[in-house]
């Protein structure tokens, strides 16, 4: 596998037989490959719910790799006083990614993996008052910086996917969300820990443009097998984390969302009001002028007011 081809890499993952390290290397080549324009180079993942076997290897890998970074901890289940298992119920202040099983009937069920969608127009970045949430324009990775975050939780209010989580039980709480392993696995091995660990090839890591091509290929290959929709292609302006599924996405807890990013709507209004700070300055100027004019009209007798100015005032009311 000295010079792995793209197809070879994909097949390798699909069969789930390629060794993890090789997969990582292959993905690294993908990540650093030819530049086709910035949007083309954005990194992301394609999660195929029909391939996921629910082994949660990705969850374990995520905590193993990112444990210190973001202080992820194990979560105990009520039945497990000895803490033998990590049993998170949901994304949380110590869980960045989570596998859930949705059962529609005995025949129809699907696993689903939650983690940050890495929106192309992320609400969380748009609202963070101190730029603790940032989006790398080159890679498209939405990252969090605990050293600037004030913990206002506006990002949580804003995110349509309810992804950012807060460490409610900590005296020094952080926001926890997937950062595509930019400081850990991605930096070291060029692939996210979850994609690297997945034995079923359900998580494909790579450039968004190529992931989209692959997603469409799968849809075309097995017509009727999948729902004919790549979740994340257009949702809230597009996300770099894409989903394929056979069951309706909103059943899997992925909300039905409009194509226009909420951040665009709010920023448009905010910008209209505060464009170049002209309006506030104009308002201040106008008010000053009015107030000064009013003061000049006042009869001055040591600041106290007589019946005269009472009458004057009542003219206007």
């Amino acid at each position: 596998m000295a010079k792995p081809t793209r197809r070879g890499f994909l097949v390798g993952l699909a069969v789930g037989s390629a060794s993890l390290a090789c997969g990582g290397m292959a993905a690294a080549v993908e990540a650093g490959g030819e530049a086709v324009g910035s949007a083309q180079n954005e990194l992301g993942m394609l999660y195929d719910a029909t391939r996921c076997v629910g082994c949660k290897a990705c969850m374990a890998a995520c905590k193993r790799v990112n444990g210190d970074y973001g202080s992820l901890a194990f979560e105990r289940a009520a039945f497990d006083p000895d803490g033998l298992w990590d049993a998170p119920q949901d994304l949380s202040g110590s869980t960045r990614t989570l596998i859930k099983l949705f059962k529609q009937s005995d025949r129809e069920w699907s696993y689903v993996k939650y983690s940050c969608m890495h929106c192309r127009k992320p609400s969380c970045v748009s609202v963070c008052p101190v730029s603790a949430m940032t989006r790398d324009p080159r890679t498209g990775v939405v990252d969090y910086n605990k050293d600037t975050c004030i913990g206002c939780r506006y990002c949580q209010v804003a995110c349509a996917f309810n992804i950012p989580r807060f460490q409610w039980d900590s005296a020094t709480p952080q926001i926890v969300k997937c950062d595509l392993c930019v400081h850990t696995n991605l930096a070291k091995k060029g692939v996210t820990a979850c994609a690297e660990a997945c034995p079923a090839g359900a998580i494909l890591f790579g450039k968004r443009a190529k992931l989209l091509v692959e997603a469409r290929r799968r849809l075309a290959e097995k017509p009727g097998f999948y729902l004919d929709h790549v979740y994340g292609e257009h949702e809230v302006g597009g996300t770099n984390h894409l989903y394929l599924s056979a069951l309706p996405f909103n059943r899997l807890g992925l909300p039905q969302l409009p194509e226009s990013p909420p951040a665009e709507f709010s920023e448009k209004i905010q910008h209209t009001i505060y464009k170049g700070f002209v309006a506030p300055v104009a308002l201040y100027g106008a008010l000053c002028w009015l107030a000064l004019r009013n003061l000049k009209k006042q009869p001055h007798d040591d600041g106290s007011h007589t019946d005269d100015d009472k009458k004057e005032g009542s003219h206007e009311s």
Partner: protein, 432 residues
């Protein structure tokens, strides 16, 4: 106190009410302490789905609106040139100062990493797309402005206080707290000289500060509405609209006037002073017009967005929407009648209805109409309530103590039927 027309409220500080308020304050502050040791989750029911609870909804979003009395009065006095409302401003500014100060305190309790707040002053970290950034800076600036607006009152007091009463104060402090009397007196002399130097200079620029005090709330009160613009997928369509900033702005103005009426009636009642009926009636005449504008924007916007049908769904959300509209509408309707405006009782009832309705609007936007998706639920925990109650108790406590220490309330004699007393910012820039 010489010609200063304000007076201290002569009464003992340690009343039973004082101890009740003190107890509530202590409980609240104990829980705040717990929060800093054990994390926010230990005292509150907030969750990742409802990351903002009543601390933000009440203490910040609603509390600052209730503290808008100073803002609303300043518009009236300085912009609409109705100087005869001047005497109502000093207590309005004082309560605004408390309201905003404690909102700031609540924010520090609510945010998870307050030690990082210095980033607000680092330009490279500024994030001008964020309504929160705008709110934070404006609120900090406005609190400073309120302090400066209140300063002349303190300076005048310092400057003109006759040394006998100061002597007495020093003696008291000496006896009670063991403060060195002579040192204290020289310090006070210094402060007095400083005040005498500062006050005329401050008077010259004060009007510009006051106008800043009108501009800033205009900005951040509308931005408090903008905060929820981003939640287009979570906030119920009855409330989510591009007009949120405008609606919040108008909302804080009518809440501001109504709260002035409530405060005035309540403090007249509590401190056994005559009611300022004449001024109140004048204020009350303004309110229904403001609320009428607000209601037309609400309804017009629903029509325009084609969401009016949601009102007649008569579900949970429609119920709260109708309640909010009903409260504000009823209160305003009462005030349209000039006869009602002269009755203290009707004034009080209608102002209360409007404040509650206006506050409910903010609750609807921040909490009740906010739905992050299936499986999330929020109702504040007892401890969470107690923190908020503790903060409110602290606010009332300070007000009650302060009016007994500083001359805040208008002097009684001589103001019974003629012109009211001296304005809060007494001699305004007369030289220019």
């Amino acid at each position: 106190m010489s010609h200063d027309d304000f007076q201290r409220h002569e009464a003992g500080i340690f009343t039973p009410a004082f101890f009740i308020l003190l107890l509530l304050t202590l409980i609240g502050f104990f829980l705040v302490g717990l929060r800093f040791v054990k994390g926010i989750g230990a005292v509150s029911n907030m969750s990742d789905g409802y990351p903002w609870g009543i601390w933000i909804t009440y203490d910040v979003a609603t509390g600052t609106a209730i503290a808008c009395g100073g803002y609303a009065m300043a518009i009236l006095v300085y912009i609409r040139n109705q100087m005869h409302y001047h005497p109502m401003i000093r207590s309005a500014v004082l309560t605004s100062l408390f309201g905003y100060g404690l909102a700031g305190f609540s924010v520090m309790v609510d945010v998870g990493r307050p030690w990082n707040a210095y980033n607000f002053f680092i330009p490279s970290k500024w994030q001008v797309n964020s309504a929160m950034f705008e709110v934070a800076l404006c609120v900090m600036a406005y609190t400073t402005v309120l302090l400066i607006e209140f300063l002349p009152a303190i300076l005048t007091r310092l400057e003109e206080a006759d040394s006998r009463s100061l002597q007495r104060l020093a003696e008291r402090l000496h006896r009670k707290a063991g403060v060195d009397q002579d040192r204290l007196m020289t310090r006070i002399e210094w402060a007095r000289a400083g005040a005498a130097w500062l006050r005329p200079r401050l008077d010259k620029v004060l009007i510009f500060i006051i106008v800043l005090g009108i501009t800033l709330p205009t900005m951040h009160q509308s931005s408090l509405g903008s905060l929820l613009l981003i939640a287009s997928t979570k906030l119920h369509p009855l409330w989510h609209t591009g007009f949120l900033p405008l609606l919040f702005l108008i909302n804080c103005i009518y809440i501001g006037y109504s709260i002035c009426i409530l405060e005035s009636v309540l403090s007249s009642y509590a401190f056994k002073r005559p009611f300022e009926t004449k001024e109140l009636a004048g204020l009350a005449a303004i309110i229904p017009w403001v609320t009428a504008i607000w209601l037309s924007v609400v309804v017009g916007d629903l029509l325009w967005r084609g969401q009016l049908g949601k009102v007649f769904a008569f579900d949970f959300y429609a119920g709260f929407f109708l309640l909010e509209i009903g409260l504000v509408g009823c209160g305003s309707f009462i005030l349209f009648s000039a006869k009602n405006r002269r009755s203290v009782r009707w004034l009080f009832v209608s102002a209360a209805l409007i404040v509650i309705g206006g506050a409910l609007y903010r609750f609807n936007v921040y909490l009740i109409g906010f739905n992050p998706g299936e499986g999330w639920r929020y109702f504040p925990s007892l401890a969470e309530f107690m923190v908020t109650i503790g903060i409110i108790a602290f606010e009332i406590l300070c007000y009650k103590v302060l009016v007994k220490i500083l001359p805040v309330l208008p002097r009684l004699h001589g103001r019974d039927h003629t012109a009211p007393a001296v304005p809060v910012a007494p001699p305004l820039p007369q030289s220019n």
